[in-house]
């Protein structure tokens, strides 16, 4: 073997040439941008036999049923179109969508999360098709309130959110709030909390009565966003949070944001939240609340159908919290993930027809029938009072009217999802003080705003 050693220089030479060859061209830069003309659009859908692939995250009970029904109805209306559905959980969709979109055969229609981490990155890469032309064609501009449409817009370089082109429309409306077990609240002799202090007091009573106040499972990491989002909105108010997420003004280390974090940690310290939340899945904690395992549960309106079927339509209530001095409740939410068309899709007209079909007023009725909250409630919709559906619809109407819904916090920067979710696990796990938690958010935020110039 030793006699061969003199050939080593040769090998090194080959490797060196290869490396130099590689170094000559920087990675990337070959992606086609979608700034080319989009061509004319039409409501008339092809008569050819085609397959539309759609990716959604509607795995929760009611939304899954609705999506199946809507897809079947669409295929019935257009027998030449086959819908190929790929449905996966929110975090799995988040993990795979970037890879799928940048591949050569992306799906035609996808649900993209708003804000910088996802939609912003996709727009920047030219992966989504601007949909302003279809918005005009299908009159989405008058169907949706502008506040909702704005969340789905981006400048065409993906650098500025809430301005520029429209990249999708949402099927559902969403609010994150506090679900409560009516029987337990009756037993404690309290009514549904209206403020964060109410909630803390009620939780103390539950704890004293030997009932777990709040079921919280955060294995998936995204529930942390919602817990902090609800508390922060109720403490800091709509304007402050909105300005922060949209990078208008403010700092994550402002007093109210620290107070919100301290409030949550206080709940943990007093035993209001179950231990081990970072190892318990959201589904498991939801199921536990559904079986009467706790007085409260913080999550979004997308859990309506699951809780209705677990507990019955009138046994569970939904409430949102009003900040001190405010006239209307303020909470996190807005709309579900945006349904977008990928720029490589060969069937943009059919894709737009599909998106319209599953989001329009008729679809809204299907969504209501299956226990979901459509983005735009049909006029004259009035569910039986005392039901969970009524609670949700009332809150949604009130908050929409007052414009006091604040965006999901993970939209803030391209890395905020990870920073915030890890940070919340640290906060709840007692690994970070409220100050350290908010400082980690602020550090991420500053780096991002500096980067954007």
């Amino acid at each position: 073997m030793h006699s061969k050693m003199r050939k080593v220089p040769l090998l090194v030479g080959i490797a060196a040439c290869l490396t130099i060859g590689l170094a000559a061209c920087a990675p990337g830069g070959s992606t086609a941008t979608s700034t080319a003309s989009l061509g004319s659009v039409s409501k008339t859908v092809t008569k050819d036999k085609i397959t539309l692939t759609e990716w959604d995250q509607n795995t929760d009970g009611g939304s899954d049923t609705a999506q199946k029904e809507l897809n079947a109805a669409f295929e019935k209306k257009y027998p030449n179109i086959t819908i190929k559905r790929v449905s996966q959980s929110f975090s799995d969709l988040k993990t795979t969508l970037k890879l799928a979109l940048s591949g050569n055969t992306p799906p035609d229609v996808v649900q993209a999360n708003q804000g910088y981490p996802d939609m912003g990155a996709f727009v920047k890469g030219g992966l989504l098709r601007p949909m302003d032309d279809y918005a005009k064609l299908y009159d989405w501009t008058s169907y949706y309130p502008s506040s909702l449409l704005k969340l789905n817009t981006f400048s065409s370089d993906g650098k500025t959110w809430q301005t520029g082109n429209l990249y999708g429309v949402s099927q559902t409306g969403e609010l994150v709030g506090v679900y409560y077990n009516k029987a337990i609240l009756d037993q404690l002799g309290v009514s549904a909390p209206k403020t964060i202090d109410d909630l803390t007091v009620d939780m103390a009573k539950a704890k004293a009565a030997g009932i777990l106040p709040l079921n919280y499972g955060n294995l998936e990491k995204s529930p942390g966003i919602h817990l902090y989002g609800v508390v922060q909105a109720a403490v800091a108010g709509a304007t402050a949070v909105d300005d922060l997420v949209t990078a208008k003004s403010g700092s994550w280390t402002d007093k109210d944001n620290v107070t919100a974090a301290a409030t949550i940690q206080g709940w943990v310290d007093k035993g209001y939240i179950n231990a081990g939340s970072s190892g318990i899945s959201r589904d498991a904690s939801l199921a536990s609340f559904g079986k009467g395992g706790s007085a409260f549960y913080v999550d979004g309106t997308w859990q309506q159908q699951t809780l209705e079927s677990d507990m019955g339509k009138t046994a569970v209530g939904f409430t949102t919290l009003t900040p001190v001095g405010a006239s209307a409740p303020v909470t996190e939410g807005g709309e579900g993930l945006a349904w977008a068309i990928t720029s490589k899709s060969k069937h943009a007209d059919a894709a737009a027809a599909y998106i319209d079909f599953i989001t329009n007023a008729k679809a809204a009725q299907t969504l209501l029938d299956t226990g979901n909250l459509p983005a735009v409630l049909p006029t004259g919709y009035s569910p039986t009072s005392g039901t969970l559906a009524a609670d949700i619809a009332d809150q949604y109407t009130e908050i929409s009217k007052a414009s006091t819904v604040v965006p999901y916090l993970d939209y803030t920067t391209s890395t905020f999802y990870d920073t915030l979710t890890s940070g919340m696990q640290n906060l709840v796990g007692g690994q970070a003080t409220p100050e350290q938690f908010t400082q980690s958010l602020q550090t991420d935020y500053e780096a991002f705003t500096k980067d954007r110039g």
Partner: protein, 327 residues
């Protein structure tokens, strides 16, 4: 749980292994194989035989490995044009606590994947040193080795339920009156990493035991008899004969287990995705997450390069244990 690369011992052991398998697996008349079996005539046809394998290897493994090195000097989001980054990605591996702690976690995992199974298995080998001759040993070997062949995704989902609130682990604690200690093991900062490490112990203890017991079986009985005639007790016997004779097996066990600890990905991806907080992030997970989720391809490549270098250094160090004096 095993992956391609941890299945084979480090490159330096080639010759030792070639010799072993000549006497072992390849149960053919070993004496007739000359040590340098090469034929004198130079044969350019050899290139044709090697070309398909080498081409595939170069395109799908060799060149991308060099490219990883190249990527690590750029800032790239995976979508738009890359910009030169100098050494900043490598500086980040040291200064970014999320990255440096990932390497620390990998070191902790090495204790559970490697040190504990190897030491424990050695201690057990001292007791069951003659188990290789037991009736039913092949049954035990089969069972002890079984975890190695189960897909890591399945292993991960099994242990997620074992560590859950109502899972087996807590059931056992409650059964022995330690119910107060019950918790969600993967959700607790103090225990999540250890819980993942313990899965590694579960995976690898059987592997080490099987290796060592059969290694002892290879020691010539005369050695033990001679030692006993000299009045050696079991402890002296172990340190004087068994341990030196097992050097090769220990090196293999260390290589397999240490590399599997350093490369942990599937288990973390399925069980915790790095949580709670960042308490269970590992280099392979960070590389994946940064490259494909966070759009920090350059930083991910730097992590991958450092990880690769660490693996090469560690395997080379372990390799020093290999006996060089067989034959």
């Amino acid at each position: 749980m095993s992956t391609r690369t941890n299945a084979a011992p480090p490159a330096g052991t080639v010759d030792a292994r070639a010799r072993r398998s000549r006497q072992g697996i390849a149960a053919r008349p070993a004496g007739t194989a000359s040590r340098r079996a090469r034929r004198g005539r130079r044969d350019l046809k050899g290139y044709l035989y090697v070309l398909p394998a080498f081409a595939l290897f170069a395109v799908f493994l060799g060149v991308p490995t060099l490219q990883t090195l190249q990527y690590s000097f750029y800032d790239w989001d995976g979508i738009s044009q890359a910009t030169s980054a100098g050494l900043s990605n490598y500086v980040g591996v040291v200064t970014d606590t999320a990255l440096s702690s990932a390497f620390v976690h990998a070191a902790v995992l090495m204790i559970f994947y490697s040190a504990i199974p190897v030491v424990l298995a050695l201690a057990l080998t001292l007791i069951v040193s003659r188990a290789h001759a037991l009736r039913g040993m092949s049954f035990f070997r089969t069972v002890l080795f079984l975890p190695q062949v189960i897909a890591s995704v399945v292993v991960a989902s099994i242990w997620v339920s074992i560590y859950s609130q109502n899972g087996l682990f807590n059931e056992i604690l409650r059964a022995v009156g330690l119910g107060d200690l019950a918790k969600v093991w993967l959700g607790d900062y103090g225990t999540a990493l250890i819980a993942i490490g313990f899965v590694g112990t579960w995976l690898n203890i059987g592997l080490c035991l099987v290796l060592f017991v059969s290694g002892v079986g290879n020691i010539q009985p005369e050695l033990f008899e001679a030692a006993r005639l000299d009045g050696a007790g079991p402890v002296r016997e172990f340190f004087g004969i068994t341990l030196p004779a097992l050097r090769g097996q220990i090196a293999v066990a260390l290589t397999l287990t240490v590399v599997s600890a350093l490369k942990t990905f599937d288990l973390v991806y399925i069980t915790t995705r790095g949580g709670p907080g960042d308490s269970t992030t590992v280099p392979a997970f960070e590389a994946y997450n940064r490259a494909f989720n966070q759009g920090q391809v350059g930083s991910a490549a730097a992590v991958a390069v450092v990880l690769t270098i660490v693996i090469i250094i560690v395997t080379a160090l372990i390799n020093l244990l290999q006996p060089k004096d067989v034959e």
